[in-house]
């Protein structure tokens, strides 16, 4: 489903004539990532702060802040890096944001209607009727314990930290992605919200989709049990293993392993 080969990416570089802050020097953050994710699998990517975890998520989604300098990413046999941000999403790549963005004045309903319509178009499905959309909204909101009324609120505006993260998983449920990359979905969650989010994600786990969890801590993996755990450090995957690797990291810390 996802095949990453020797991926290098940088931040901070500036196009000719582009105004910007800083000295414009490019800094390489990903220094040769290799990763294979197959349908039905859950991979956890762990690592210390600044190791490049979130950059990997951003690069997969096509965030224009980062520049891929070399390497290859295949998503469902297609050249992912050649696709625009929205094309990647329509093909079934979902990024759960570490910091979900507030969009004043844009309601969740309008936003999700537009997003779901694009996803369904890409799948060759008909646009949902208003009542089908509403029914789907209720069902998916219940999955993550969000009040259905939040659909009439502006996107993430005034949402608590926990609601924002639940809203990410709600959107994932609405869009039924082939591959979900969840970037520190557990950060800022209390234990109850963590359980709800974890169970929600687990309920969305299927044989034909895959999930990449990016996390600093082991605790999320109590609720979403991964098939593989990778440790990212200095922009490379330095260690891979099974579930037990996460427990070892928790016990010994990154210093003892990386």
């Amino acid at each position: 489903m996802l095949s990453i080969k020797d991926l290098h990416a940088s931040v901070g570089g500036r196009e000719a004539g582009e105004a910007g802050r800083g000295d414009g020097a490019e800094r390489e953050i990903l220094r040769g990532i290799n990763l294979e994710v197959r349908a039905g699998e859950v991979h956890a990517i762990m690592g210390p702060n600044g190791s490049g975890k979130s950059t990997l998520a951003s690069v997969l989604a096509g965030n224009p802040r980062f520049k891929v300098t070399s390497g290859e990413v295949l998503f469902e046999e297609r050249d992912l890096l050649a696709l625009s941000v929205e094309e990647r999403a329509r093909e079934g790549l979902f990024l759960g944001f570490q910091y979900p963005v507030e969009i004043p004045g844009v309601t969740m309903a309008n936003f999700m209607k537009a997003a779901v319509a694009e996803r369904r178009k890409a799948l060759g499905l008909q646009t949902l009727t208003a009542s089908e959309f509403l029914a789907m909204t209720r069902e998916k909101a219940a999955l993550v314990g969000l009040a259905p009324a939040m659909i009439s609120r502006a996107v993430n505006e005034g949402f608590s930290g926990g609601e924002k993260k639940k809203n990410e998983i709600f959107q994932m449920a609405m869009l039924a992605p082939r591959l979900a990359v969840l970037d520190e979905t557990d950060s800022g969650l209390d234990i109850d919200a963590l359980r709800v989010v974890g169970e929600g994600v687990t309920a969305l786990r299927r044989k034909d989709n895959a999930i990449v969890l990016i996390t600093h801590y082991q605790r999320l993996l109590d609720y979403i049990v991964p098939d593989y755990v990778h440790v990212l450090a200095g922009g490379r995957i330095v260690l891979s293993g099974g579930r037990d690797l996460a427990l070892r990291l928790e016990a010994e810390g990154y210093d003892g392993i990386v």
Partner: protein
């Protein structure tokens, strides 16, 4: 026509409101020929007015509101869109009586019109201007006034000018004002694109969101629809 509360003439107009709650139909300058409309609103004791105002096209609105009686309240919501032309809103709020309150939220969008060719012509640049004066007369007590100016400059050649001003001759006054000018939120654009919404639609949705809390203050469906259609036309050209 829809905007019947305040007849659309270029000369000075004066409208007075008595005690009670009033949700006025919007004052709209539709522009096109650089029309200047000058309106004076007088609020008597206990008159509480919600007033939406719009300059949508080449033109200028000069609005004066007198809070003339105790307990008068003004809730003003304004929007100007300068799409390849000048659009100005000029507001003067006079607190002439004690225990009066004013709230102003005026939003602006400036953008160059059309394609590259038009950008060489000065008049096509798009220049939006807000001038807002809060005046508090000598001797009045317990005045509460707020004024916020929020603006989006959509293209590099467009201009926003915002001038919030205070003139206060009394002591017991609570006053705050602020102004911001920025572009669209690129993080939000990325977020929406990541959900499959194309970039142009994402930008458009964000702009519609920006104007929504002004447009929604129009009291009737008819006026909201007419304003929305007009905005749509301006931002599409």
């Amino acid at each position: 026509m829809i905007f019947s509360n305040i007849p659309e003439v270029a000369a000075d107009e004066v409208v007075a409101f008595e005690a009670g709650d009033h949700a006025a139909e919007p004052i709209v300058v539709k522009g096109g020929s650089g029309v200047i409309r000058s309106v004076k609103v007088v609020l008597g004791a206990g008159a509480r007015l919600r007033l939406p105002v719009f300059v949508l096209g080449r033109g200028k609105l000069a609005l004066t509101v007198d809070l003339a009686g105790a307990g008068a309240e003004l809730h003003l919501y304004g929007l100007f869109i300068a799409a390849g032309m000048d659009a100005d809103i000029n507001v003067r709020v006079n607190h002439l009586a004690s225990d009066t309150l004013s709230r102003q939220l005026v939003k602006g969008i400036a953008t160059e019109a059309g394609e590259a060719g038009a950008r060489n012509v000065d008049a096509e640049q798009g220049r939006g201007e807000f001038t807002g004066m809060i005046f508090v007369a000598k001797g009045v007590q317990r005045v509460d006034a707020q004024q916020y100016s929020r603006n989006i400059q959509l293209t590099p050649g467009a201009r926003i000018v915002t001038r919030p001003q205070l003139e206060i001759y009394a002591d017991d006054v609570k006053c705050s004002h602020g102004a911001t000018v920025g572009g669209l939120d690129e993080e939000a654009i990325f977020y929406m694109r990541q959900r499959g919404v194309d970039e142009a639609t994402a930008r458009r949705m964000q702009l519609e969101g920006f104007v929504a809390d002004i447009v929604s203050r129009c009291p009737t469906d008819d006026s909201r629809v007419e304003i929305a259609v007009r905005i749509d036309k301006l931002l599409t050209q």
